[in-house]
Symmetry: C2
Subunit: 138 residues, 2 copies
């Protein structure tokens, strides 16, 4: 995995992206661009380059998680946003990172629920359950 | 629209479904069954039978919204859960109902965000924005 992936996104271009104490953890570069396309996150990224996988012998060291922890401590990060896929692999990895970081800074993850344009009768049970449990006042 | 749709779901079977002060507002019977399949909501339903639509001359009266308001007042409802589709029509209808009910009881709506199994690079920008804005601590 090239070191480039772990560097600050646009870190050398302070006019485009001022560090704001937030790091968004994504699985791969495609996810980084998905976040950028949405245009809602203004901060730095940490690209893992995969997910934890015992079968493929991918552990925390292969994903650069110790390096993420160092970044959090050295750069004065106040919030780590786990923007990982809502798959089993993604959530396992998110759970591990959250446990490692919970004493160091605020850790948040993307909300789960009904996607934009989603119709209830086409959604799976898990999504409906998550959306109902996380319902919010209007 | 048959009156049956507005009646209490399993209202005559108190063992199966005890009224708990919650009403879930859904668009049609397919959505009701989607909620039931998820098995996470234990309460009564109010089936609108459609959404507000100026073009099709479907207004609040056609959807039985005044009847919903009466139910809320007469049955001592504490919370109305708007389980409407995340489409333009669904959200317009939800907005109207929320405005009508906001002084009468608590009104909530399903969370928006990443669906179960969702991968970031396949999701639309609106969903990613909603999920990031509604991010929660882990």
């Amino acid at each position: 995995m090239p070191d480039l992936w772990q560097c600050r996104h646009f870190g050398d271009l302070p006019d485009l992206c001022q560090p704001n104490g937030e790091i968004c953890v994504v699985e791969d570069v495609a996810d980084l661009w998905a976040m950028e396309r949405a245009g809602v996150f203004k901060g730095r990224y940490h690209v893992l380059g995969g997910t934890l996988s015992a079968l493929d012998a991918i552990g925390p060291d292969e994903l650069g998680i110790p390096r993420l922890i160092r970044r959090v401590e050295e750069d004065g990060i106040s919030e780590v946003i786990l923007a990982l896929n809502a798959t089993v692999d993604g959530q396992t990895t998110a759970h591990y990172i959250a446990e490692e970081l919970e004493t160091r800074c605020k850790v948040t993850s993307l909300a789960q629920g009904v996607p934009v344009g989603g119709e209830l009768d086409y959604l799976d049970d898990g999504t409906i359950s998550a959306a109902l449990r996380a319902r919010k006042s209007v």
